[in-house]
């Protein structure tokens, strides 16, 4: 394997503005709802049966739904998970902070605390799809196609992964934006900064 091998984007999913779009096709849409209701309706519409979904925090639900779309027909188990966002787990951190803010009502919740780390959402995807694979979670101000492209390429080209599921999964205070895609050694859409930027902005 060489570091210069070209890789390809083989599937794209975005979850924004109450819509789930897979490879350019609208898969699911609702009127404006809060994320909790939107995600529940999406879960039901997609016919998912996974009760643990309802224990997840918003970030994990968002990442889970995107992964569900991209992995539904995917057989590859050596699938690395490379995710990033801007707010880390702040959406849940704020919620957890509330549970310890008042000494007269001090009941830190372990079920909330466990989600105060952004990589938990990758853990949830790993468990759901039984992916014992490379994982990393990055934080950037905005989607960073250069770094994401580079890192996914190096994982495939050095044999650390056969495919990579990449995701920008940003959510804070009801505002969410998810952009996920699959990278593999074969395909038609070239995997590079430029195609990622174009796809992200569509």
């Amino acid at each position: 394997m060489t570091l210069e091998n070209q890789n390809y984007i083989t599937a794209i999913c975005s979850i924004r503005n109450n819509e789930i779009i897979l490879d350019g096709k609208l898969v699911f849409k609702t009127e404006t709802l809060d994320f909790s209701d939107f995600s529940k309706k999406a879960y039901q519409h997609l016919g998912i049966s996974y009760p643990k979904f309802f224990k997840m925090d918003n970030l994990s639900k968002l990442a889970f739904l995107g992964a569900e779309m991209l992995l539904q027909n995917e057989q590859e188990s050596d699938m690395a998970l490379v995710f990033a966002n801007r707010s880390s787990s702040l959406d849940t951190d704020v919620k957890y902070q509330k549970s310890i803010a008042d000494t007269a009502n001090y009941f830190p919740s372990p079920a909330v605390f466990v989600y105060t780390l952004p990589n938990i959402c990758i853990g949830e995807i790993s468990i759901r799809h039984q992916l014992k694979s490379e994982n990393s979670f990055f934080i950037f101000d905005a989607f960073n196609p250069q770094l994401m492209a580079n890192y996914a390429d190096v994982l495939i080209n050095t044999g650390k992964a056969t495919k990579v599921l990449c995701g920008w999964t940003e959510i804070f205070n009801e505002e969410y934006n998810a952009f996920l895609y699959l990278v593999a050694a074969e395909g038609t859409l070239t995997h590079n900064k430029h195609s990622l930027e174009t796809a992200y902005n569509e």
Binding site: P51, F53, F54, K55, F107, P108, S109, P110, A111, V114
Partner: protein, 85 residues
Amino acid sequence: MEALKQELKGKIIEVLNLEDITVADINDDDALFGDGLGLDSIDALELIVMLDKDYGIKLTDPKDGKNIFKSIETMAAYIAANRTK
């Protein structure tokens, strides 16, 4: 005791986010962990917090949880005997 059991069933569903389960689905002596309701280690920790928050019971040894949380029956009995709220 009946009212407490019903209350507990409702609380468990809410606190542990058991989405597709109703109070009617939980029998008093169903196993809560393992094969029964399928609760896990984080759920057990949440129940310990619930005992404190709602019933004023602080478990001195979290390992006691295993016996207390076996079923709604055992939970209700323990709470009735030890509650301070």
